[in-house]
Amino acid sequence: MEALIGQLFAGLSLGSVLLLAALGLSLTFGQMGVINMAHGEFMMAGAYTVFVVQGVVADAGLALVVSIPLGFLVGGLLGLLLEVLLIHRMYHRPLDTLLVTWGVALILQQVARDVFGAPNVDVKAPTWLSGGVDLGFTQVPAARLFILALSVAAVGALAVVLTRTSLGRRIRGVVQNRDLAETVGISTRDTDRLTFFIGSGLAGIAGVALTLLGSTGPTLGTNYIVDAFLVVVAGGIGQIKGTVIAAFGLGLMQATFEYSTTASLAKVAVFVVVVVFLQIRPQGIFSIRTRSLA
């Protein structure tokens, strides 16, 4: 029974990690159609942010707290730079953004290698996040609980921004009808930049969180990017709701398969499930409701 609850938690936790990794993507990919393969490297940048901050701030807990907004900023600024320099001239060629950002990812990884060295760096966890938290009936790792809370907070904050603020209304306006938004005076250029900034910033936060669980090194991003994209695809286009459901769904599935078989088979099985899922519900993926077909 305890193992079962532990496993349920493991699945939720994995889901929250996937959610953090995919949330920014669902904004940049789902809402803007840009396939940003450098998203993983923005996560890496967030993780290295914690490492750098820990070099300045001795207390690991404080460093982590400081790193969350800072990681958002680092990821966001990298994203902004990418948008301004490259992506904005490619909105009509979404597939090509995939290859361009793959190149950017390669460069960023090598920059990390040249700046921080090829081996992983040591990021210390704050004492209040190491060890477990007793929930009465079972004990769960504090770090994972923290990440779960962080992902929920990130989704909440994003939802508030998208639905309650003028910026959010602008983003949704531009996504739904670019031309109309332009004619009513919304600057689509500014909105694009902001959307990309926020989406990439979320990657930075994900990177900060991942230092609690895994290695901080140049290849951190590559370990997550394929899974994160699968989540967005399964979740459906432009749907934060869909991303949340897909992340936790895939997380629970991976954990369940892994428990009953092996981690390798579980990864393969999750892929098969996503393909089968697309057979049943391509609607979540595909929607054509435009007047012209241009």
């Binding site: 054509i288 409701r289 007047r291 012209s292 077909l293 241009a294």
Partner: protein, 247 residues
């Protein structure tokens, strides 16, 4: 030969609870040049989408007693129902000839497909004549003028051997001269086909329509000749009145 007619019965299209087409019933006979008009959001394009399989619909739409609804898009096309789009959607990287040749070829077998085109098929030659693009046959479609692209689209419908032609705002953005030519083209084509034109341009309609159906809020508001429809007080109220004012 009036047996091949397009008959819609209680066609209904719903998007997430919003009823875009609300029980449209109409019949278009062969040789008819039917104009479908109505204010924005009346459901004109959606109705065309429903007939061509782009959006799911309930009710019935038959052509020559064959049910069209809820078939795949390409199957409906093969039944002889063709359409154009508001924004011309020709294959810009291909030549005029290649565009027409593709349109003419949905019935070709694999061996024909895998061979090079050795000569221009007669129906393509004929269509080039009809749409007046013979001299531009080797020009890339992407560099054609707007009006020429629309004509190419119509040409593609012709070689496709469509019996029902659904045209979505074919003269939008055209010069007066181009409109005139397009109208005459439609009249020529309409002799052997069932043609439905979705249009906003009232002058164009008055010049070329043989009959008109007015849609409003997803329903048929009025139907008849141009004169009959123009005289209908309901139509004047929701649509034409306003158009008169604008004009």
């Amino acid at each position: 030969m009036k047996s091949d007619y397009l008959e819609l019965t209680d066609v209904r299209v719903t998007f997430d609870g919003f009823v875009a087409v609300d029980g449209v019933t109409m019949t278009v006979l062969q040789g008819d040049l039917r104009f479908l008009i109505g204010p924005n959001g009346a459901g004109k394009t959606t109705l065309v989408d429903a007939i061509t399989g782009l959006v799911p619909a309930t009710g019935s739409a038959t052509f020559g007693r064959t049910e069209l609804l809820n078939r795949k898009v390409h199957r409906i096309a093969r039944l002889g129902v063709g359409r154009t789009f508001q924004t011309a959607s020709v294959f810009e990287e291909l030549t005029v000839l290649q565009n027409l040749d593709i349109a003419a070829g949905s019935g070709r077998g694999p061996l024909t497909m895998l061979r090079k085109r050795s000569s221009t098929p007669p129906e393509v030659e004929a269509a080039l004549e009809v749409i007046g693009l013979t001299d531009l046959r080797d020009r890339q479609a992407g560099v054609l003028a707007h009006g020429q692209k629309q004509w190419l689209e119509i040409g593609m419908l012709l070689v496709q051997d469509s019996k029902v032609l659904l045209l979505d705002e074919p003269v939008a953005g055209m010069s007066a001269e181009e409109r005139q030519q397009t109208g005459e083209l439609l009249q020529r084509v309409g002799e052997n086909c069932t043609v439905v034109v979705v249009e906003h341009d009232m002058d164009f309609m008055r010049s070329f329509a043989t009959s008109v159906t007015v849609l409003h809020a997803g329903r048929v508001l009025s139907e008849g000749t141009v004169a009959q429809v123009q005289a209908d007080p309901k139509v004047q109220e929701v649509y034409l009145g306003r158009a008169e004012v604008e004009a």
